[in-house]
């Protein structure tokens, strides 16, 4: 029996493996694109949350309260609802509500506040004495951020990126339900709406592999960064 006929026997409803491959690629693209933008947006936001927090270098209670509220609001809306609510914003930003492009804005807006909190937590782990030492050396706040906070917290930030990437895998799958494509779309349309449960099995298996892979890579990076 050839490999193709084995697959045919195991998953009789999957007639187009190319479509499945395309869905995989779409999911990876959505994940990569949204993760990059999430880090780009969430990292400065996390630093800002940290710096303006109570008793910190640039404590600004009002600004902190506003930021924290915005972050909490975005984090408390379930992603699938956030995606629907954000549709006009998405359309204004990228000109479509569908496909990979349409998925990226809600993914980033959903994940960046979450990642920002993880960054804030990682920065709070940096020993205050090290920051004081940098101040005593005449470092500016920006120099402390670049030279002390980010390097000292890099393992924690890498762990935060891993957790965020895995959360984004879940979000992209949810996005499939409202037209963003990818593995979630296949699972929903074929596996759920058309009762082709073998689609469900394969997509779930692929998602598990993806999450495992992300966690393993993330753990390795964290281990390397904390080895000193």
């Amino acid at each position: 029996m050839t490999a193709a006929s084995l697959l045919q026997a195991l998953f009789p409803n999957i007639d187009d493996w190319g479509e499945l491959g395309q869905a995989c690629a779409d999911t990876l693209l959505m994940l990569g694109g949204s993760l990059a933008l999430t880090v780009l947006l969430g990292l400065p936001l996390g630093v800002l949350l940290y710096l303006t927090g109570k008793g910190q270098l640039r404590a600004m209670p009002r600004l902190y309260a506003v930021l924290a509220l915005a972050v909490n609001v975005l984090r408390s809306v379930p992603f699938i609802i956030l995606m629907i609510v954000l549709m006009p914003v998405t359309y204004a930003l990228v000109g479509t509500r569908l496909g990979i492009r349409g998925a990226i804005p809600p993914l980033v807006i959903g994940a960046a506040p979450f990642f920002a909190r993880l960054v804030e937590t990682a920065l709070r782990e940096v020993k205050p004495g090290v920051i004081e030492a940098a101040q005593a050396m005449g470092a500016s706040t920006w120099q402390i951020v670049r030279g002390v906070l980010l390097p000292e917290a890099r393992a924690g930030i890498a762990a935060g990126i891993t957790v965020t990437a895995i959360a984004l895998v879940g979000y992209t799958a949810m996005g499939g339900a409202i037209g963003s494509g990818g593995l979630g779309d296949l699972a929903y349309r074929y596996g759920y709406l058309s009762y082709k449960s073998d689609y469900m099995v394969v997509t779930v298996a692929l998602l598990i592999v993806l999450v495992q892979l992300l966690q393993t890579i993330g753990d390795r990076v964290v281990a390397r960064l904390s080895r000193h």
């Binding site: 020993k127 004081e132 005593a136 050396m137 005449g138 000292e152």
Partner: protein, 336 residues
């Protein structure tokens, strides 16, 4: 020179002002090692942080080399801080950076970009603290004493005129403490660096300081040359610190001598007097007898000193005391 003029500091806690330092005035001369000793909570870490304005005074002036620190804007304050090195009890090194990068950090902060210049200066600094072989290691691979040496190299990087030591040896074992203090004394001598150190150990003060201030509940209760304060403590807090540094002396406090006949005296020798056979001479010349009950001969920084508790017997006692005093020995009669 560091000058405190009527400096005081209080913290606002739950809307109430909690005083940390009572108004104090203090001059620390160029090139001296100035110690501040006090128990935890006495205000000494606040005091040392007033020098580089890590803590802002609630009132009064802090002058460093004639510059009024509190009047500086942020940029000028940062430049001034680069001229003031600081080391810490827990070293406060960057764990994510190598020894060499830790030492290079203040150079980069000060705007040095040339990799060759940085490397040369780092090598020179690591050689000074005896860590050339460890440049590529991370702090977690070093012992406590080595970490503090990295801290010292880092503090010296921008050629400061002042070095602040915040309990720099409190986390170290006695042997490592001795070697770090020796390094500080060497730096003070060779670089003509002013050192301000805070500690809760009189022994640290005795080994390296020229002058000392004793801090108790936010107040300077005693200050002066270390030999004076150490040999003749006046304030009870100072006496406690001195007793801690001289355990045998404290253990043999007067009580056990109650039955010893004669007049109970404490003789303090300093400098040259330490090496003269004064007791023997006085015994021969005046015919009195000394019974040595307790004693210690040691050094205060480079100054040799001795302190003996003796019982004096004989008819000519007053004359003997006068002879001792003219020989440069400090005589205190102890109550019994």
């Amino acid at each position: 020179m560091i000058r405190f003029i009527d400096v005081h500091k209080s913290y606002r806690v739950d809307g109430r002002e909690i005083p940390a330092l009572q108004p104090l005035s203090l001059d620390i001369a160029d090139g001296e090692v100035f110690g501040v000793i006090g128990h935890s909570g006495a205000g000494k870490s606040t005091l040392i942080r007033l020098v580089n304005l890590l803590e802002r005074p609630s009132g009064g002036q802090v002058l460093v080399d004639g510059v009024n620190m509190t009047a500086l804007d942020q940029a000028a304050l940062r430049r001034q801080r680069q001229r003031i090195g600081m080391i810490f009890q827990h070293f406060n090194l960057l764990d994510s950076q190598t020894v060499a990068d830790n030492v290079a950090f203040p150079l980069r902060l000060a705007g040095e970009r040339d990799a060759g210049t940085i490397r040369a200066r780092v090598d020179e600094l690591l050689a000074r603290v005896g860590l050339q072989a460890h440049a590529g290691k991370y702090p977690s691979q070093l012992s406590g004493g080595q970490k503090q040496r990295v801290g010292i190299a880092r503090a010296l990087a921008n050629r400061p005129s002042i070095l602040l030591c915040d309990e720099a040896t409190s986390a170290l074992d006695p042997q490592t403490t001795a070697s770090v203090l020796q390094l500080l004394a060497e730096i003070n001598r060779e670089l003509k660096l002013t050192i301000v150190l805070i500690t809760h150990e009189m022994d640290v003060v005795r080994r390296v300081c020229d002058r000392v201030a004793v801090l108790d509940a936010g107040r300077v209760v005693e200050a002066g040359p270390v030999a004076d304060v150490f040999l003749h403590p006046r304030h009870p807090t100072t006496r406690r610190f001195v007793d801690e540094a001289l355990p045998e002396e404290a253990a043999t406090a007067q009580a056990p001598f109650a039955r010893v006949p004669g007049r109970l005296l404490r003789l303090s020798f300093r400098g040259e007097a330490t090496w003269t056979p004064a007791l023997g001479r006085v015994m021969r010349e005046t015919g009195v007898d000394f019974n040595i009950l307790a004693g210690r001969i040691d050094r205060i920084k480079e100054l040799p000193y001795g302190q003996l508790t003796v019982a004096l017997q004989g008819a000519n006692a007053d004359h003997a005391l006068a002879v001792l005093r003219t020989a440069g020995i400090d005589v205190e009669e102890l109550a019994r």
